[in-house]
Structures are given as structure tokens and as C-alpha cells.
Symmetry: C2
Subunit: 253 residues, 2 copies
């Protein structure tokens, strides 16, 4: 355990506050006890530094990588107001290679989901539902940004993320990997998600961007999440949750 | 249509930025085109003022209550950075009287859900699922605060909210109103939400606080949302979504 942070480490940590700084570096910052615990337990290989605010207990800390800093210094490093006193500097888990075989019988495909809270929540929920990866399309949220990590509650360290250039590019690759049906959630109408047979067999379920929905995709099957009430739509993280737990239910739980 | 805001109106609007200021006043501020549209269409009786930033189109504006203000003045009134240029000053919809009969065959009971985003999302999702009210317990989030309104996307103007002093107090009243079974969601175990018969018949499903869960309630039935994956828990808004759409599914959609 050490009490000194090198200047280089300090300036790296500060630069990670900006999206650009983070992107350049290949590192990310993990805050909060629960998320930090998951990161250390799931991917100790990615942890570069455990920075603890003086007095903070963190049983999972990796001793040889731990630095304890005074409160004042900690505050300058950590953007969060009510921080729990644990900050991890981690290497980014990075993306699955597009050539790796798919991990699950179906994939959830996010077409440029833009809100980091929604993205993190979907990843966390997909993990709870027993998926092992998620597919994203370029132009969406940064999966390893601070807010996405916070909402993910450690899911970024448990789940694979596969990224494609566009929805069309994703479809092309996924077809080669065995995906036979592409379902797109459509508020306008389609088969009910609760009645569509084969929904989770060699398929991809597409969720679109919060404002503009998903790109059109030739040959995709429209799917509706029935809304008996008067609401116009569901939040995309809620739509994802309905899909994911319909999968859990059909698996016999 | 007017272009002048009285000093009294201006200072009222500014005071609504604080929870205390809002609570004292009985008013709330609605921002964003979609939410404002819902508020005007669902509860025009509650709208006191439609404040438009110069140049903003808002077809639903109630003409005799509309004030158009220059951009600079608008910015001083509106806390949001990327505001869409519509700000409504509304009277709070307020709570259902505890004596009013229940609106639905079952109730979703939030025991001190504390995050306004979660609360608003649950309300929006309950509306989509066809419920007409939600039950809350004192000590949770302010349903008419800025963030809760934003996440609710207008649901606060469509849904009734019934509020009790405590979970025990809620249970006592709800029993008198015909609720026979109280289910509490428990990560620790219980009957699967997908297999529990009678889940939505004269029942209350309790969702607890994000950090501490729900208070214990004698005689309540533990219910589990199965999580085949390795995640520790679900976000409370996701748990609520699973419950709400299991209701939709069972209704035959």
C-alpha cells in the first residue's frame, strides 16, 4: 500500500473526466463501492490503481495497487459529490472481436442508444437476465464513460460488448454468425412480444435510439410491446427490460 | 398572449427551483415539449402559465395563459441546459384522498423509492401498463420535483398518486379497501413472479427503497424476480417494469 500518487497518475486520472481524454487513454474510472467491488472481483487484471480516501474501508482492494490519499486530494480526483471514497483506475475492458462466436442464443442489439443511464441500466439488466454479451452500433453512448459505468453497476466487467459500424453492418455480420431473424421494436404495431414464437432463437432484438428509434432494416420483423394504457411510449431501458425478462420467463423461471 | 411576466410570477418561478420553495407553493415547473404537451392536454385546469422562449413553437399553448419571453430572460427562469424552450407553471396535481376507492385490480406500492428518475420512470411505465394510480409512502421522492416530472414524461398528470404515512399505515388502509395479499419483492428468495397465481388480484406489490429495500410487513408474501445471471440485483425501476409487464402479459396482450 502506498500513500503517494505519481504526477503522471494524477494527471491521467484528471484527464479521464473528459470523453476525449478517456478515449485517447484506454483507461476508465470506476466509482462507488458496489461497482468497484465488481470490477476488482471480475477483472482484477484490468485494475491499475485502487485509490482510497483516507479512512475508507474497501476489503477488496488489491494491496500492491492501492494508494490511500488525504480527503482534499481525493476530492480533486473524484468528480462525484457524495463519493464513497473508492476510485479505481482501470484499463477499458474493450470490445469483443466481431469474429468471436456469439455467447447467447439471441442478441440484444442497441442501435445508438444515447443516454448513458439507459445504456448502463440495459447492460446491468441483460446481465441479470443471464445474457453474456450485448451488441451496439457506432454513434451511441460511450460504454465506459462515468455515467454508463455507474448505471451498469459493474456489468461492464461481466459482459462482452460487440460493436459494429452501423445497423446494416451489424446485421450482415450477425447473419454470418447464425442470426436468422431480426426483430425491431415498433410502437406503431407488430406482433406482441408476449405471443411471438421463436423470439429468442437465433435472433436479434433491436432497440433504437431514444429520440429517433432504430434505423430501418430490410427484412426485419416488427414487434410491439403492448401498452394498454395511454402512454405514448416506454423508456428504452424499460423496453429492454420487458424483452429481457420475457426471455427469463420463457426459460422456465 | 402576453410578453410580460409580473415580478410576482418571476419570483415564484425562481423559488420553485428548490424543494422547499416548491413544497410551500403548491406549484411545480414542467419542462420539455413532450411533458408539457401531456400536461396541457391532460390537465389544462392545472396550467397557470405557458412560458415560451422567443421563437419556440408549441401548438398546445393555451393562448390566454401564454407569455413569450426573450432568450436571456428565459434562461434565468429555466434550470435545464438544453431546454426546448417551453416551461409550464402548473398547480400540483396533488394526492388522491386515502378514502377514494382504488382505481385498479391491484396496486403497485413504492416504499420510499428515493431516486426521482426511478420514481418518474415507474410512474410512466405504470401508465403504459394501464394502471391508473400508484401508492407511495412518506419519506420517498417528491413526485412533482423537476427530475421526477422529466422522467415521468407527463405521467404525473395522468396517474393518481395515493400517499400514506408508512408501509404499515398503507397496509392497514389498503386492507380496508379490499387488498387481500401483500407481495414484497425479495432478492433473497420467494415465489417466482412468473409463476405466482393471483398476483394481480386484490393485491399490492411492494417495491422498496434503492438502498434498504422495503420495510418488513407482517403477513406479506415474498416474491422473487428470477435472475439467472450473475447480477446482484435489479434497479428498482427495472423490477417495477418486470412486474408491470407481467400484468400486461397476463391480461392477454
Amino acid at each position: 500500500m502506498s500513500t503517494i500518487l505519481t504526477r503522471k497518475q494524477e494527471s491521467l486520472i484528471r484527464s479521464l473526466g473528459t470523453r476525449h481524454g478517456r478515449r485517447e487513454s484506454g483507461f476508465c474510472l470506476v466509482e462507488g463501492l458496489r461497482t468497484a467491488r465488481e470490477a476488482v472481483l471480475l477483472r482484477p487484471d484490468l485494475v491499475e490503481l485502487c485509490i482510497l480516501r483516507e479512512g475508507t474501508e474497501f476489503a477488496e482492494a488489491i494491496e500492491e495497487k492501492t494508494v490511500v490519499v488525504p480527503e482534499k486530494q481525493y476530492e480533486t480526483l473524484c468528480g462525484t459529490v457524495n463519493s464513497q471514497g473508492v476510485l479505481l483506475l482501470c484499463r477499458e475492458p474493450g470490445y469483443l472481436s466481431v469474429e468471436e462466436p456469439l455467447s447467447d442464443p439471441w442478441v440484444l442489439l442497441l442501435d445508438r442508444v444515447a443516454d448513458p443511464g439507459n445504456f448502463g441500466t440495459i447492460l446491468r439488466t441483460a446481465r441479470a437476465a443471464g445474457l453474456h454479451e450485448i451488441v451496439v452500433v457506432k454513434g451511441g453512448v460511450d460504454p465506459y464513460g462515468e455515467k454508463a459505468l455507474r448505471a451498469g453497476m459493474g456489468a461492464q466487467f461481466a459482459m462482452g460488448i460487440r460493436k459494429f459500424e452501423s445497423l446494416a453492418d451489424a446485421a450482415e455480420h450477425l447473419k454470418k454468425m447464425g442470426v436468422k431473424t431480426f426483430y425491431r421494436t415498433e410502437p406503431a404495431g407488430g406482433n406482441s412480444i408476449f405471443r411471438e414464437e421463436g423470439l429468442f432463437e437465433n435472433s436479434a432484438v433491436i432497440l433504437g435510439n431514444e429520440a429517433n428509434g432504430a434505423d430501418p432494416l430490410e427484412g426485419s420483423v416488427p414487434l410491439v410491446i403492448p401498452m394498454p394504457g395511454s402512454a405514448e411510449s416506454l423508456n428504452v431501458a424499460q423496453a429492454g427490460t420487458v424483452v429481457l425478462f420475457e426471455y427469463v420467463r420463457r426459460a422456465g423461471y
